[in-house]
């Protein structure tokens, strides 16, 4: 196997938030202290070595960075203050941009102004098309009672001018569908690209075909439970992460797949399963947001010490989406149709860019990459092909 060494690779990684890295003298403390390493899974040290040597091909074909959940123990005990945990974070950003075949992710990660511009552009597009297709009814201010149903709540689907409730939901659903197709198209093709780089491009890797099915459970299991994360020392972080992941997934499923059942005119009693799920998601997302906001500002927790612009972008967008979502609910229940309409508009202006930008191209994509990495890792192990591992092992 020919290995290409790129001495300039360090400069490239700097754009993804790399700090110290030449400090490392390869003592192996980080790998040994990590509660997740086993046998030949030698992160973070092997990743540092590959990065130091600029072995990009090997880096992209390794899933190690995704197997790390950044508990920070390696950084804490590193004898050289080389911060291996942060390097894993940087490599995850780098890998995200590598998996993305369009190059958009690379652009967003390395030039923050582009990400911001894209977000603003999409937000403006959402606002304009919403106002064009679903303009506000002139009666919103003059006759607000007309939009109140018998429970005293706002009929959310009747706020647009001259558009029936069913048509309103349908139009939103079309938008949802378009967004889902776009996002899924990019994300799935990126995952396939990852699959190609990790599994297919390694010619030495041979494992029985049935492994694809027998190992598939690990993908589902790890996605739902994030079991590996729980092995890290800090359980609070895992729980917060689990909450936000489930909350977010539930919300996403509700608004994309079940919009007709979810966004209805009548207001269900508080114990209705839809509302309970909504409350759970809200709690999960808010808990996580507060935890990370405090962490990233105080910087006492090692894993939140260095924040890349993309980290902030994600939690800020999620924050505004969550806040406007809660406001919609409050305004609806309090019977304020005009406020509901405009908050709904703003909510979409935050929600759509968050999903379109973050899910396939930026931080959110790890939701998919992490379980897939575990899956691919198990596939590689199923092959028990030592040779490829020996090749990955850097020379000392």
């Amino acid at each position: 196997m020919i290995s290409r060494v790129d001495p300039e690779f360090k400069q490239e990684l700097h754009k993804y938030g790399l700090r110290e890295w030449n400090e490392c003298f390869h003592c192996g403390n980080c790998t040994a202290i990590c509660p997740l390493t086993k046998d030949d899974n030698l992160f973070p040290r092997r990743g540092i070595r590959l990065a130091q040597m600029g072995l990009k091909k090997q880096l992209v074909s390794s899933v190690d960075p995704w197997l790390c959940y950044y508990c920070g123990e390696c950084t804490e005990t590193c004898p050289r203050n080389a911060n291996p945990g942060e390097l894993m974070m940087v490599l995850r950003r780098y890998l995200t941009s590598c998996y993305d075949w369009t190059g958009i992710s690379r652009l967003f990660y390395t030039r923050k102004i582009w990400e911001l511009a894209a977000i603003i552009l999409i937000a403006l597009g959402v606002i304009i098309s919403f106002l064009v297709f679903l303009p506000p009814s002139p009666d919103l201010f003059s006759k607000p009672q007309a939009f109140i149903n018998e429970q005293g709540g706002v009929m959310i689907n009747s706020l647009a001018n001259g558009i029936s409730a069913s048509r309103f939901v349908q139009l939103i659903e079309y938008g949802d569908l378009l967004m889902a197709i776009l996002v899924a198209g990019f994300l799935i093709s990126n995952i396939f690209h990852m699959f190609y780089r990790v599994i297919l491009s390694d010619r030495n890797l041979k494992f029985p075909f049935y492994s694809y099915f027998t190992e598939f459970w690990s993908l589902i299991y790890n996605f739902v439970t994030q079991a590996r994360f729980s092995k890290c020392d800090n359980r609070t972080y895992w729980i917060g992460h689990l909450l936000v992941m489930t909350g977010y997934t539930i919300m996403f499923t509700l608004i994309v797949a079940f919009l007709k059942e979810f966004q209805i005119e009548e207001i269900k009693p508080w114990y209705h399963w839809q509302r309970l799920l909504g409350y759970y998601s809200t709690f999960g997302i808010l808990f996580f947001l507060i935890y990370t906001f405090i962490g990233r500002i105080r910087k006492t927790d090692l894993k939140m010490q260095f924040s890349h612009p993309s980290d902030w972008m994600f939690i800020v967008l999620l924050f505004f989406t969550a806040v406007t979502g809660i406001l919609i609910h409050i305004f609806r229940v309090s019977g304020l149709p005009a406020a509901t309409y405009f908050t709904y508009l703003i909510h979409l202006a935050f929600l759509v860019p968050m999903i379109v930008i973050e899910v396939p191209f930026s931080k959110w994509s790890h939701l998919a990459y992490r379980p897939f990495a575990v899956y691919f890792d198990r596939l590689r192990r199923a092959g028990q092909n030592r040779q490829s591992i020996v090749e990955l092992t850097p020379a000392i």
Binding site: G28, T37, L42, P79, I396
Partner: protein, 587 residues
């Protein structure tokens, strides 16, 4: 000052880029106040023509030159050459550096006047100063470096006061079983030297003593030594040991690193020098509570044990001081993930050194550490033999969280310990976990290869943690060369602890007025070419107190320090650059 002994001042032209300054006020000041000749350099005049310079100096009949101006250092060499050619010492050229900014600020002018006065008076003083140097030497610390330095000087026929804090000389070396790489018995090399010190007529050994103050000037130090009571008279004690036998108090032994117990009245170890008993004031019941006094009753020599002895202060005059106060081993419990202090069979290298020593707690048998009925950790002979022993290198060294420096000796002593284990337990599996193997000295690399050949497994990778699981010590290491994670169960772990500056290092540096480096080791002014000289003339450093080093290096440095002392005494002066700095700056 004779008529022919003349000091002159040369004002140098400022370097290019500096505005020339009006010197007329300064010249008047020098003429009126200092009454010495003033030579003003013109650009490309004095220092560009060696002949002109020689002629100028000869014309003014100068025997000493003060080079003044902005960065006059540039011309030091040429003036020195001229002065030596004229038959004067190189040290007769003195720099008065005005600094970079004096011409910019009017307020600096007064400082320049002060500087010139200071330099002038120093130069004049130097001529009047008696150069006679006090011949006695004080050596602080009686480890191998202190012992070596004392013997070198005393054997040259000069008086040495050897000041030791503990009750015996010998230091850390006395605790070691073997030395690397020759595997000589440490005690066999050290004890003859210790005895020689103890019997030398020119060495005055002061145990239980500490330096508390240093006054006086280089060559004439007045050192105050505080001698804590031993409570046993060194002269009359016959070393029979009856007192120790009857003493009811038991505490853990410092010499055996806590692996054995000793009494409150004790001899540190059988070969101690002076080979006399002493009382541990903190443990003794009589001294703490006023009860007991058994030792006095059983002592066959009347008046030998005096439990009412008080500390006393002695003042010693000495020309030179050699500091050789050694080091402190790294405290392994500071790294809690290695479980030292938590798991009984995680040992420090020094503890293991005592364990494996024939004079140690088990007579040299390697056994497990267990807890006895009273709750003390002890090594007992019938507790079985460890079959898997791991040696973890770089504990507390090469670690930014503790000491970033390499402690230099750990790799080698770890190899030595591995060899000793191999000798005593031929069937045991021995593992060394290292980051880099630093076998740098003569015969060291060969020693490393020899230990490898003996079947000791070398694993490149820093052990991250040790946990006790089911009575085994479970450790996690990345085997970097094999490219896999190692999770092994060991019976015994040895932590190769690094070296740290001694606890009293900072205090000592304040008392002596010598510099320490960023880690707290004493600083040699120019380590590369003069590793024993400190910033204070007449104070020398030797051994580990200057930085981690092994026994041969410590001995070499001690001899070098002794050579410096002897040179100053034989020539009857400290080198000019010491008593008399050659560069002065504006304060």
């Amino acid at each position: 000052m004779s008529e022919y002994d003349r000091i002159g001042i040369i004002f140098c032209d400022p370097p290019s880029g500096y505005t020339p300054v009006d010197l007329s006020d300064l010249i008047i000041f020098v003429r009126d106040n200092l009454k010495i000749p003033v030579i003003i350099d013109q650009p490309r005049y004095l220092f560009s023509d060696f002949h002109v310079l020689m002629e100028t100096i000869r014309h003014h009949r100068l025997t000493s030159v003060i080079l003044a101006g902005i960065r006059p250092e540039r011309f030091r060499q040429i003036v020195r050459t001229a002065m030596t050619k004229l038959g004067y010492q190189a040290e007769s050229v003195v720099i008065a550096d005005f600094g970079d900014t004096w011409c910019v600020y009017e307020s600096q002018v007064q400082n320049v006047y002060e500087l010139l006065e200071r330099v002038h008076s120093q130069v004049v003083d130097k001529r009047h100063q008696s150069s006679h140097i006090q011949q006695d030497t004080i050596v602080i610390g009686a480890g191998i470096a202190g012992i070596q330095a004392s013997l070198e000087i005393a054997n040259a026929g000069l008086k040495v006061y050897l000041i030791e804090k503990s009750g015996t000389i010998g230091g850390h070396m006395a605790k070691f079983d073997k030395t690397f790489p020759t595997l000589d018995c440490a005690a066999c090399i050290l004890t003859p030297k210790m005895v020689e010190v103890g019997q030398h007529p020119l060495i005055e050994l002061m145990t239980c003593s500490e330096v508390v103050a240093v006054n006086g000037t280089p060559g004439h130090y007045k050192v105050t030594v505080r001698q804590s009571p031993r409570w046993v008279d060194v002269k009359s004690c016959i070393g029979c040991g009856t007192c120790s036998e009857k003493c009811p108090v038991k505490v853990s032994s410092e010499f055996d690193e806590g692996t054995t117990m000793r009494k409150a009245i004790y001899m540190p170890f059988p070969q101690a020098v002076p080979n006399k008993y002493l009382i541990d004031g903190e443990a003794c019941r009589f001294i703490q509570e006023g009860k007991c006094g058994v030792c006095v009753k059983v002592c066959p020599v009347t008046g030998c044990i005096n439990l009412y002895e008080v500390p006393r202060e002695i003042e010693i005059e000495a020309g030179n001081i050699i500091v050789a106060n050694g080091f402190k081993p790294f405290q392994a419990s500071r790294i809690d993930r290695f479980g030292y202090g938590k798991y009984p069979n995680v040992l420090t290298s020094l503890e293991f050194e005592r364990l494996i020593n024939a004079a140690g707690p088990t007579g040299g048998e390697i056994t497990f550490r267990t807890t006895d009925k009273k709750g003390n950790s002890v090594f007992v002979n019938d507790s079985g033999k460890p079959q898997k022993i791991g040696i973890i290198h770089c504990v507390g060294s090469r670690d930014e969280n503790f000491n970033p420096y390499c402690s230099k000796v750990c790799c080698m002593y770890s190899l030595k310990l591995a060899h000793l284990v191999r000798e005593k337990l031929p069937s045991a599996e021995i593992f060394e976990y290292f980051i880099d193997m630093r076998a740098f000295g003569k015969g060291y690399e060969e020693f490393y290869c020899r230990i490898q050949d003996e079947g000791v497994r070398m694993i490149r990778g820093k052990t991250a943690r040790v946990d006790q699981i089911d009575g085994h010590l479970h450790l996690r290491t990345e085997d970097i060369i094999a490219g896999r994670m190692l999770e092994q169960d060991m019976d015994m772990i040895i932590l190769s602890i690094g070296l740290e500056p001694a606890d009293d290092q900072k205090k000592l540096s304040d008392i002596l007025g010598i510099d320490v480096d960023e880690y707290g080791w004493f600083k040699a002014v120019r380590y590369e070419i003069d590793p024993v000289r400190t910033n204070r003339p007449g104070i020398w450093i030797a051994g580990v107190c200057q930085g981690p080093k092994d026994i041969p290096d410590s001995v070499v440095q001690a001899s070098a320090a002794a050579a410096g002392v002897l040179q100053s005494i034989m020539s009857d002066r400290l080198t000019d650059s010491e008593v008399f700095p050659l560069t002065y700056m504006i304060n």
